[in-house]
């Protein structure tokens, strides 16, 4: 896999789903490419289909139009080469300890078995600083710790790409900031590729190396931006993004 080919290609993807009353178009002809070691952020207000888009990349949903390709192969089903980290705290199996949760992921997917799985699990649990809690059940952990387990589990699988669906949205502000820092330092260590969904502009700027801005109803690509490298640039970028989203809202307000 050279650096001259994208890892993930999302090509003119339209996503539709049915509610009991309506056929909803979540995204309309979205294109983007994710390169290895990108921290690619999908940013947009609620209703822009960013989570739906992530689920489609995860293989949980087939596009009605367009293609999603990972390493050139068409994405059709969920699989361990694209590990999801969800927002919900109940994503850990409650009947397994922290260690067993990570080991189970490795064994159930057939990545590793036995001792190797145990060792890999220990390594990544150490990495997210949960060594002391390896034998605790999920219900004994705080929200932030649960999310760290989910991240450890995702990383332990060493997937092609880590898909994170607003993983810190349900955390309190302090924990959230700490988790963002931790995620970045984890990334420094292994430079995994991550596709990160958020509706928070500061989070997108902090986490992302590249930001895809989506407009709502249906989700369409509005801009693709490089992230800031200095605090002043970050302020400026935040302003620009806010302006783009804000302008959208005014337009909508006038239409109503």
């Amino acid at each position: 896999m050279g650096l001259d080919t994208p890892l993930l290609e999302v090509d003119g993807v339209t996503l539709q789903y049915k509610t009991p009353q309506h056929l909803v178009t979540a995204t309309y002809r979205v294109d983007f490419k994710v390169w290895p070691s990108d921290r690619f952020v999908l940013l947009g207000p609620s209703g822009c289909g960013k989570s739906t888009l992530l689920k489609a990349v995860g293989g949980y949903m087939a596009p009605t139009e367009g293609q999603i390709r990972l390493r050139g192969r068409l994405v059709t089903d969920p699989g361990p080469d694209r590990m999801m980290v969800f927002q919900e705290f109940d994503q850990l199996l409650p009947w397994k300890t922290v260690r067993q949760n990570v080991v189970f992921a490795l064994e159930a997917s057939g990545r590793l078995t036995g001792r190797e799985a145990e060792e890999r699990a220990r390594h990544y649990i150490d990495k997210v600083n949960l060594t002391k809690f390896a034998d605790s059940y999920p219900h004994m952990l705080s929200g932030g710790m649960k999310q760290r387990v989910a991240i450890a589990r995702g990383m332990a699988m060493e997937p092609d790409i880590l898909l994170m669906d607003e993983p810190f949205a349900a955390l309190d502000a302090l924990t959230r900031r700490r988790m963002q820092d931790e995620l970045l330092s984890l990334w420094e260590g292994t430079r995994f590729t991550v596709l990160f969904v958020t509706h928070s502009i500061p989070e997108a700027i902090k986490i992302g190396s590249r930001i895809l801005l989506l407009s709502p109803h249906p989700g369409e690509v509005k801009a693709e931006l490089n992230t800031a490298t200095s605090p002043s640039e970050a302020m400026e970028l935040e302003g620009r993004i806010q302006h783009m989203l804000f302008a959208e809202q005014i337009e909508e307000g006038e239409n109503v």
Partner: protein, 303 residues
């Protein structure tokens, strides 16, 4: 609330008034007064009182004493034997082997009916989660048969299966199946979408997804179903034995009670009832509660 609002409104707004100047302070060490207890073990009596089983045992003792006193006061073994007479009848029955034989007679039939019921319920829920029409089938069947007391089927069972264990097993299966199927199915339905997605993320599908994710996730409901099914089965069995234990060969506990009533051996009737209670207690409070504590209790899934 209203008084607060009132006071807020009535207070004259004085913008010139200033709060007194207060110095900032930071405490280096917590003051930690020596008289404050940080942590201290409870007294022995308090700890004893915190044991639920001990409190319940005390209640049982009080009830037994009350029973004994009333029995002695009545002094009529035909109507209401004393606690001691019941216990001695129970011990005698246990010693000479009649009670254990009757218990085994009941449990054998019960386990047979329970096992068949579990298998049937598994098949039914299997069909129900496999397809939408299967779900409809299960829902229709359970809503139809669950309110039907198993005993009501007994006359029919007698015609179909005769005066043997076959009829008993039939009513037991009826009493067990619906409770378990209903609970298991609703357990599967309540498994969170996130967990199912996690399972599929690992590449699990079909049977392995059910076995490794859905069944453990639905285990609290499944266990409830098994518990309810057991309770139904136990009550149904004793009742069914009372109605037609007469001709079913060896007979179980229900028949033991009925038989002794006919012979006006009331202490033995009480001993039979006591046995029914004891078995119910042991299974529900020891076996099922232990399973519950070791599984969903430890997993934090107890509701």
């Amino acid at each position: 609330m209203s008084s607060v609002v009132h006071r807020l409104h009535s207070a004259p707004l004085d913008t010139t008034r200033q709060n007194p100047a207060r110095p900032e302070f930071i405490r280096q060490d917590p003051v930690g007064q020596p008289t404050t207890v940080v942590e201290k073990p409870l007294s022995f009596a308090e700890r004893l009182y915190n044991q639920a089983w001990l409190r319940k045992l005390a209640i049982l003792a009080v009830l037994a004493v009350a029973w004994e006193i009333y029995g002695r006061y009545l002094d009529n073994d035909l109507l209401f034997p004393t606690f001691s007479a019941t216990v001695s009848a129970f011990l005698k029955g246990m010693a000479d082997g009649t009670l254990p034989a009757r218990i085994w007679g009941s449990l054998k039939v019960l386990l047979m009916g329970y096992a068949v019921g579990v298998v049937l319920a598994t098949i039914l829920t299997g069909i129900a989660i496999a397809s939408r029409i299967g779900t409809d089938l299960l829902e229709t069947l359970t809503s139809m048969f669950n309110p039907l007391p198993a005993i009501a089927l007994l006359p029919l069972a007698l015609i179909w299966f005769g005066l043997g264990n076959g009829s008993l097993v039939f009513v037991l299966v009826h009493s067990v199946t619906w409770a378990i199927a209903l609970n298991t199915h609703s357990g599967f339905l309540s498994v969170s979408r996130t967990l199912k997605m996690v399972g599929r993320n690992y590449g699990l599908t079909g049977a392995s997804l059910i076995r490794k994710i859905l069944i453990p996730a639905a285990f609290p409901s499944i266990l409830t179903g098994l518990k309810v099914g057991w309770a139904f089965a136990w009550r149904t069995l004793i009742a069914a034995e009372l109605v037609f234990g007469v001709s079913s060969g060896s007979g179980g506990l229900g028949w033991f009670i009925y038989e002794n009533k006919n012979m006006l051996d009331i202490p033995n009737v009480f001993a039979g009832l006591l046995t029914v209670i004891l078995i119910g207690l042991v299974v529900e409070n020891l076996i099922f509660q232990t399973i519950e504590r070791k599984t969903i209790g430890e997993w934090g899934m107890l509701t």
